[in-house]
Subunit: 123 residues, 2 copies
């Protein structure tokens, strides 16, 4: 069946959540939002492109930071209301310079940070 | 820092997306929604509990199907508006009887199903 981004189920704002997973390690890196055009751009360019809700603009992940997400595979869930992208992530995925946005664990009722920011590179 | 479910950022409907990941394999199994009470119940009971938007009720994953999700670890993302649960999943996570809800890959512009339903068990 041909894939049409318009066939996905978007929320009232025209957005669908997209989970990014490191294709090598399986680590869940982040979750962000796409609209139908961002889905199409991601597939066309191979660079994962979200819709920034705060800036109301396309957000080519890593375009300014250099921390690009190269698309390996895009998957649609059973309800067609969530996406999973397997990616090759350059550097940190998180704006805190950590590899993943999910660096805080709830353990025995307390929040514990389990991941340090990545060392800066000279790229 | 003590963890308070009320400190998370919920959407206009009081919900936060939660990604479930297989703790053994790293496979992303599904994404569903929680409200603050569902987060608290998940931590208290160790059984992952979502909020069903269609039924407007708590949804103890697997309560009727037996396909429980046992909580291994709950993580909060950097923006506090998305959760990740690492789980021990009994049987399929998907209502289609597949291990994961993300069984459809977009490949060369077409949708390809890459996962079969799991065999029925006599549980």
């Amino acid at each position: 069946m041909a894939f049409d981004p318009a066939s996905l189920k978007y929320d009232a704002n025209g957005l669908i959540p997209c989970i990014a997973q490191d294709d090598d390690s399986g680590e869940v890196l982040m979750m962000a939002w796409m609209n139908a055009d961002a889905v199409a751009r991601t597939l066309e360019t191979g660079r994962v492109t979200y819709w920034s809700r705060s800036r109301a603009a396309f957000w080519v992940k890593g375009e300014t930071s250099g921390h690009l997400q190269h698309l390996v595979e895009l998957r649609v869930d059973c309800d067609r209301d969530c996406l999973l992208v397997r990616v090759r992530q350059e550097g940190p995925a998180c704006h805190t310079n950590r590899r993943s946005c999910f660096y805080t664990v709830v353990r025995d009722g307390a929040e514990v940070i389990v991941m340090e920011p990545m060392a800066a590179t000279n790229s």
